[in-house]
């Protein structure tokens, strides 16, 4: 009950904001001949948990790669909090507050769980020139302590504080995924992009992640979630975008999108093939 009220309060705050957080106009991505994204336009106001669905190869990962500036943009325009960042490299997008996970787990094997999360917390220091960070030998210690605190609270949030001194290879797949989310959270992002964070997880692990994402949304974090599991999409998202063959074919709440004739056709078409 308490949470619901808080969430509604958040909603109202969001409605009052005029600028959408993410604004994508005519986004097109060509891979020598293959049109992976075809004039996709969408607007994402802050504070919501968005779902991005579509059959295999429909362009979901390409979309996340483009808006995090990891992948190329052939045509179109990307705006984040009112700022055009279409031509920026990926590290600049990250510094703007766009944080992402990848479709496969990417942790640093020779760093502990805590250190992996601290990499995210280094976010604001990493913008300074290397030489500046290098010569700040004395103040480094205090900043290091602050960074550790931030990382610890991110680990707390994903329920992994007890594992902070372990190494990634000794954790289960679901836990490794959560370390990645903690690393993203430690950087205090404005927009979190998650590419199939629950692929290959047990139902219990999936529920844990669902709960975590909803909790984050309730605290105001905007997220875009790519998932194949439609029941998860129903359970957690506020708004869904559906892609097929690189085109945005539907958007709206999860029930409407799932009942959309084009979406049904796209999924049944895939089911027929298999």
């Amino acid at each position: 009950m308490h949470q619901v009220i808080e969430r509604d309060a958040n909603r109202e705050m969001i409605d009052m904001q005029s600028e959408p957080l993410l604004n994508v106009t005519d986004l097109t991505v060509n891979y020598d001949g293959v049109v992976a994204l075809d004039h996709v336009s969408l607007t994402a106001p802050a504070g919501q948990l968005y779902g991005l669905i579509g059959p295999n190869g429909s362009g979901k990962s390409t979309f996340l790669a483009a808006i995090s500036r990891h992948g190329k943009v052939t045509e179109g325009r990307l705006e984040f909090a009112g700022r055009d960042y279409t031509g920026e490299p990926a590290f600049v997008a990250a510094r703007l507050g766009i944080s992402r996970s990848f479709q496969t787990v990417r942790l640093q094997e020779d760093l502990s769980v805590l250190e992996n999360a601290m990499v995210g917390a280094d976010h604001h220091r990493i913008t300074r020139p290397v030489i500046f960070n290098w010569l700040r030998l004395v103040r480094n210690r205090r900043e290091e302590a602050e960074c550790r605190e931030t990382a610890l609270s991110a680990l707390e949030r994903v329920g992994l504080v007890d594992y902070k001194d372990q190494f990634p290879s000794s954790l289960s797949y679901g836990m490794q995924r959560r370390v990645e989310i903690a690393r993203c959270l430690a950087s205090d992002p404005k927009l979190l992009l998650l590419d199939e964070p629950t692929a290959g997880m047990s139902p219990a692990e999936t529920d844990d992640i669902s709960e975590l994402l909803m909790g984050l949304r309730d605290s105001g974090l905007t997220q875009i979630l790519v998932a194949h599991d439609l029941s998860m999409i129903h359970a957690v998202t506020d708004h869904v975008f559906a892609l097929n063959f690189g085109k945005l074919i539907a958007e709206g709440n999860s029930v409407d999108v799932a009942n959309d004739p084009d979406v049904r056709k796209a999924y049944i078409g895939v089911a027929d093939e298999e």
């Binding site: 990891h70 640093q108 290397v130 960070n133 480094n140 960074c147």
Partner: protein, 292 residues
């Protein structure tokens, strides 16, 4: 103790100078750039010192010129080679070293041609060499710990991940390139003071092989690995001799080859990595023992 130092003075000096050369290569390897340009800078540093010595400049000025010239050339090289990775970068930097060697041969009176420059007057003491080594080690220690250490790990292993975390891999690698060049130049200048001569072979293949071997044997993940590698590789010929193994000139290269083979196969992170693994294994044993 004192006796040991005086009888091994030359070995100690060589270890100090070659540790700096090893640092130079280690700095770029650690940043994920397979660059051997530190060897070209070693020659540039040596010649900078030799030439300024001939013009009666203070040795400190000569060393500084070596460092600065090496750093500037490395910066330009970094801009030029920014797109190259792995073996291609390695080849390009070997080509750079060869070009330095050729330029030194054809430099006329300025570089002394094929023979190089000898009779360098500037001298350096063992103590001074180790003071420089300690200072550079400290700076590298600072570069490898905390935030920069973590960031360089990721730049080396996973560039897309680095970008997703706001890390500008290109500028971090460029910094490593310049630092690697500066340290290589420093090492070369000190070497010139230690030996009293420089020659175009300073940029040649054997130096590249020695530099790379020291780093691979010791472990490129840390400055300490490079230091261990340099000490071992410089000590080994003398060490084998003192164990009474005769006819060293024949056996040395066999032992050398076997050592590298063994480490490449069983210790991908070099001796330091091997020691660290042993250490953590023992710690775990100890803990199990206490828990039991």
């Amino acid at each position: 103790m004192l006796n040991f130092f005086s009888s091994n003075e030359i070995l100690l000096q060589t270890i100090a100078v070659f540790s700096l050369l090893a640092f130079s290569v280690q700095i770029s390897l650690r940043a994920g750039a397979f660059s051997l340009a530190g060897v070209g800078c070693w020659a540039i540093g040596g010649y900078s010192l030799a030439i300024s010595d001939r013009h009666d400049m203070h040795p400190v000025i000569g060393v500084l010129i070596g460092i600065v010239v090496s750093a500037i050339i490395s910066y330009l090289l970094a801009l030029l080679l920014v797109r190259l990775r792995g073996l291609y970068l390695g080849m390009a930097t070997i080509a750079f070293n060869q070009m330095v060697g050729i330029a030194l041969i054809h430099g006329g009176d300025f570089t002394g041609g094929e023979l190089g420059i000898y009779g360098i007057g500037a001298r350096i003491s063992t103590f001074q060499l180790f003071a420089v080594l300690a200072l550079v080690s400290f700076l590298l220690w600072a570069l490898e710990r905390g935030m920069l250490g973590r960031a360089y790990n990721i730049v080396r292993d996973d560039e897309p991940l680095a970008a997703s975390l706001g890390i500008d891999s290109e500028s971090m690698r460029r910094f490593a390139f310049v630092l690697s060049g500066a340290v290589g130049g420093l090492a070369g200048a000190l070497n010139a003071m230690m030996l009293g001569i420089v020659s175009p072979t300073d940029a040649d293949f054997p130096v590249i092989v020695i530099a790379l071997t020291m780093v691979i044997v010791g472990g490129y993940h840390s400055w300490l690995g490079a230091l261990i590698g340099a000490a071992l590789i410089q000590w080994l010929p003398i060490g084998l001799q003192s164990f009474g193994i005769e006819g060293m000139s024949e056996w040395w290269s066999v032992v050398y080859g076997l050592l590298i083979l063994f480490i490449a196969v069983y210790m991908p992170r070099g001796l330091l990595g091997g020691l660290q693994r042993l250490g953590s294994l023992m710690a775990r044993r100890h803990q199990d023992f206490r828990e039991a």
